[in-house]
Amino acid sequence: MSKIRVLVGTKKGAFILTADGLRKDWKISGPHFAGWEIYHVKGSAADPNRLYASQTSGWFGQIIQRSDDGGKTWNTPGSSAEELKGPEGFPKGESNKFVYAGEAGTHKWYDGTQHPWEFKRVWHIEPSLTDPDTAYAGVEDAAIFKTTDGGKTWKELPGLRHAKGNLWQPGAGGMAVHTILLDPKNAQRIYVAISAGGCFRTDDGGKTWKPITRGLKSPYELPDPDAEVGHCVHRIALHPSRPDVLFMQKHWDVLRTDNAGELWNEVSGNLPTDFGFPIDVHAHEPETIFVVPIKSDSEHYPPEGKLRVYRSKTGGNDWEPLTKGLPQKNCYVNVLRDAMAVDSLDKCGIYFGTTGGQVYCSANGGNSWNAIIRDLPAVYSVEVQTLR
């Protein structure tokens, strides 16, 4: 029988939630890396037992952790006693070394001046679809790094910051590459999203990048609402069967593109508010998408204190609220951008975590919800592995 493994990053550690395909009885493991902020944990599609975790701290900086046994044990790549016995010149303890390539350069600062790029933390790790030792890291200040040795060393793909990086600027939450989407049909194509830089695409494996923001409008955030860069894109998502179709939750607005980002169209439709953070796509229905509307950029909680996931079965515009099993009064949590994921069982499971520490699961495509766990630290990220 299939198994589900949910990887949860929180403000004070990582948790691993496992269940069989019924998704009713859950085992909880954690906290792993107790007391550290865990921005993201994600498994490799090529080897589901290979997990990467971004562990970070305001005191001690960035740590990359790796598990080769599905989260039972963890190591900082390149630092174990066994690895240190390796040949001379073997990288030692450099899995947390993120150094921008060449001159770090500058980006726009809050006061309009230029500010030097400074590495702060890894927000998102995206393992390769085919090689467990290859992964990409989206970092703050915004840039993308790549490892090809299982996380022992990381090198920047600097072409991204050449895409008008001097005009990107931090939002209140910082300036980070928070979404990395690998095209399953074209190994040379990668999409990234940056707050507040916009959305970008490479067609040559990361050497060169171009903004893909035509159609985005940000009249309350940018002096030029149609600017090529600077938009606060909160999250993008795709269905693997149609990687040219992308869905976006922007600061305000939900949008879609049918041509790999060449043109975006708003599909907010009848949402009660089109502000929000996560967006995801049903595993088997490429036109079924999910968002969690949040009242506004000034009030980061659900409208009317009702936690509602909205589902569109038409790729946007027509939305229905999903409320069964979710609190419908006095709920003032937020759902962060990396805190929603889907499994790929026949009855697609949808998962999301909240800043109040709940992780919810729907085992029936969103029709009803149950809390797997309720009292974790604030949830930063949720990823799901379907293990067969």
């Binding site: 005191w59 001690f60 390149g78 240190l84 030692k92 303890g93 450099e94 947390n96 150094v99």
Partner: protein
């Protein structure tokens, strides 16, 4: 042997209990102690001071013999009591909420 007390999270990261002891060739400075510590525990590289600039991370402090050495130049020699092993060199996570 120089005795070094690490903060809770770095002890966990280095997988050690209590104090660690490291050999440091004279002169025993802050920089020399940190270099020896990182050599013995590579996982600590980047967590106490920056990988490249070797600047102390802002919320990490260095104490010895009831003195705060955090703002002293890294070539500052440590007190004789630390060099002799009578007193430890403390690496401390600065007070902060959250």
């Amino acid at each position: 042997m120089i005795r070094v007390v690490l903060p809770f999270h770095l002890r966990n990261l280095a997988r050690v209990d209590g104090e660690v002891q490291i050999e440091v060739a004279a002169p025993v400075t802050v920089r020399a102690v940190l270099a020896a510590l990182e050599e013995k525990f590579p996982v600590l590289r980047g967590t106490i001071r920056d990988h490249d600039t070797l600047k102390r991370r802002p919320f990490v402090r260095f104490f010895a013999c009831k003195e705060d050495l955090s703002l002293e130049p890294p070539e500052t020699r440590l007190p004789d009591e630390v060099v002799s092993g009578a007193e430890p060199f403390l690496i401390v996570g600065a007070m902060a909420g959250g």
